[in-house]
Structure formats: C-alpha cells, structure tokens
C-alpha cells in the first residue's frame, strides 16, 4: 500500500537531497577556486615585484582548470536533473538514467567511502516510457538504500537487465535496509512495478506510472 502524502514527501525529499548535494559540491569548488586565485595573488605579493615561478603558476592555473571542469560537470548534472520534470511521459533510455542516478548518488557514496558501478548489459539501448524524474528517484532510492548500512570500501553495483515488458534492476554489494527501503518499495509498487525476491531488486514496467499522481 502506498501513502500519497509519503510519496509526495519522498519526491520532494529526493529533489532537496540532490539540490543540497550538488550545491554543496559547487560551494567546495568555489572555495577552492578562491583559494587558488588568492594563492597566486599571495605569491605575486611575496615576490615583491620580482618574477614569480612560472612552473608553479602554470601548475596552479592547471589546478584551477580542473576545478572549472568539475564545476561545468556539476552544472550539467544539475541542469539535466532540472529537465527531468519537463515531460512526464517520454522515452527514457535506461542506460542514461542509470548513469545519471549514479552521478547524483556519487557524493553520498564518497561520504561513506563506497564505490558505485553500473552494468546495463542486455538493457543497453532499452527504452521505457514515463517520467524521467520518477525513474531517477527510484534508482536513487535504491542506491541510497544500499549505501545506508554499507561499510566503508563497499562496491555497489546497479545492474539493469531487459525483461519481458519491462526492466529488472538490482543493487548488488550490500543489503538495502532502513527507511530508504520502505519508500523505495512504495515507489516501485506505485509506479506499476513489483519487488523481486532479492532485497534491493525490482522490476519496472515498460510504461511507468507516476506514483502519487
């Protein structure tokens, strides 16, 4: 049984978690860029009008470039996430959704010193229709449920496999537990899917429903 209020809170909670996580990382990038720019100014000031070490400057500029590239990646991730609510009934490529869910979960895995992997073997070009936001939400919850009790060093694998009239998903490497599982199960069922025997495994139909709508 699913509770529409809980599903709505779940959707909003997912939205908030992603926005907080990405903006937190963007803030870190900003902090690093400010320090690196400040460091270059400090070196110039310390040189007192003499030439500064060109190699050091080039290395610092390279480090700034790396952070700018990281910022560009984060902004792209946030932008794509924002577009996930553009259309509630569209074609979703499973492999892309899996990669996006992994990217959204990466910081949570880093905080737990865990690694995330994906395997979309038979589902390589598999398309399901529905809301990209809902599919991302389900995959995100599945990964978070796996991470909840995972010890440091765990490698979590999100595997997607094409199945009759739908797609099977499994989180392998840790047994999903806690509140995340309960909401995940509600989401899967309310989307027209069903839970499989293995904890953290579920089947989603080729046409997803919008849970809570």
């Amino acid at each position: 049984m699913s509770d529409p209020g809980e599903l709505l809170r779940g959707h909003l909670g997912f939205w908030g978690a992603v926005c907080r996580s990405i903006s937190h990382e963007m803030n870190n990038v900003t902090a690093i860029l400010i320090e690196l720019a400040g460091l270059m100014q400090d070196r110039l000031a310390a040189a007192g009008g003499q030439a500064v070490d060109g190699q050091k400057t080039a290395a610092t500029l390279g480090r700034m470039g790396t952070q700018l590239e990281r910022a560009r990646r984060l902004m792209g991730l946030l932008n794509r996430f924002g577009h996930s609510v553009d259309d509630f009934d569209t074609s979703i490529e499973v492999s892309e959704a899996v990669e996006q869910a992994l990217a959204l979960c990466r910081r949570f895995a880093d905080l737990k010193k865990c690694e995330l992997e994906s395997e979309v073997a038979a589902a390589g070009r598999y398309i399901i229709s529905g809301s990209p936001f809902v599919l991302l939400h389900i995959l995100f919850r599945a990964l978070r449920a796996g991470l909840e009790q995972a010890p440091a060093g765990t490698q979590l694998l999100l595997r997607a496999t094409a199945a009759e009239q739908g797609c099977c998903f499994e989180v392998i490497g840790a047994t999903p537990t806690g509140d995340e599982v309960r909401l995940l199960e509600q989401l899967v069922v309310a989307s027209g899917g069903r839970l499989l025997d293995q904890p953290g495994s579920f089947w989603l139909p080729a046409r997803l429903r919008f849970p809570g709508a």
């Binding site: 803030n27 870190n28 902090a31 400010i34 320090e35 010193k113």
Partner: protein, 129 residues
C-alpha cells in the same frame, strides 16, 4: 616569535594544499590532511595550536573528532569549516568545544585574525603551560 601551528583537515585536497600554502606565506606553520584519521595520527606525535576541521568528510568528520581533540588536548583550539546549509552542524560543534566556525568559501584575512586571536602571543604561551 614562535609560529602558530595550524592543522587543516578537509577532504578537498586542493583546498587543503592552497590554504596551507597561503597560511605559510603569512608566517604560520600549516600542515594539511584530507582525512580525520590521518590528522589524528599526526596530532599524536606533532604538536599543534589550532585544528581547522571540515564538518563533513568521508570517514571521521569534524564533529566526530572534535570531542576527542578537546578531551586529549583541552588547551588546543578547534575551528570548524562548513559549507552552506550545515550551520546546524557547526553549532553542534561549538557545543562540543569549537571556538569558531567559518563558512566556506573563507576569507583568508578573517581566518588569520581568528588564528591570531585564539593562538597568538599570550594565548599560545598560556596554552603551552
């Protein structure tokens, strides 16, 4: 004059390196670590005056180690670093014994002023007794 010894702990390596170099250019003895465990290990064998700790890090975060630091070296000062949105954590850290918390991105001159306030001449000698 003896240098103020600062330990910087943040999982963002670039941040740690750049900030440590900036503090060294300002006359501090700064060393950086990217995990709480590495920093704690270093603290056991090397003296420090102030620990600058990121609140949230993989493994041991600032809030996990602050109580340990204050229990073992009560005279040492702890400053917490936090991103936006974790002010609540920072307040918790203050209750655990931190003397200040700073939001990232930090202002270097503000940090320098605080370091001198909490571990400058007078403060430091008192702490070393």
């Amino acid at each position: 004059m003896e240098k103020i010894r600062v330990i910087i702990v943040d999982d963002e390596e670039e941040f740690v390196q750049a900030l440590a170099e900036r503090l060294k250019l300002r006359g501090f003895d700064a060393r950086g670590f990217t995990t709480g465990a590495e920093a704690m290990k270093d603290m056991e064998s090397n003296a420090f005056d102030v620990a600058l700790l990121d609140v949230r890090m993989p493994g041991l975060g600032g809030l996990d180690i602050i109580a340990d630091i204050k229990r073992r070296w009560p005279e040492r000062q702890v400053i917490l670093l936090t991103g936006h949105g974790s002010a609540e954590d920072a307040e918790k850290g203050m209750r655990l014994g931190a003397c200040h918390y700073l939001m990232k991105p930090i202002h270097i001159e503000q940090l320098v002023e605080i370091l001198q306030q909490v571990a400058g001449p007078g403060q430091k000698e008192q702490g070393d007794e």
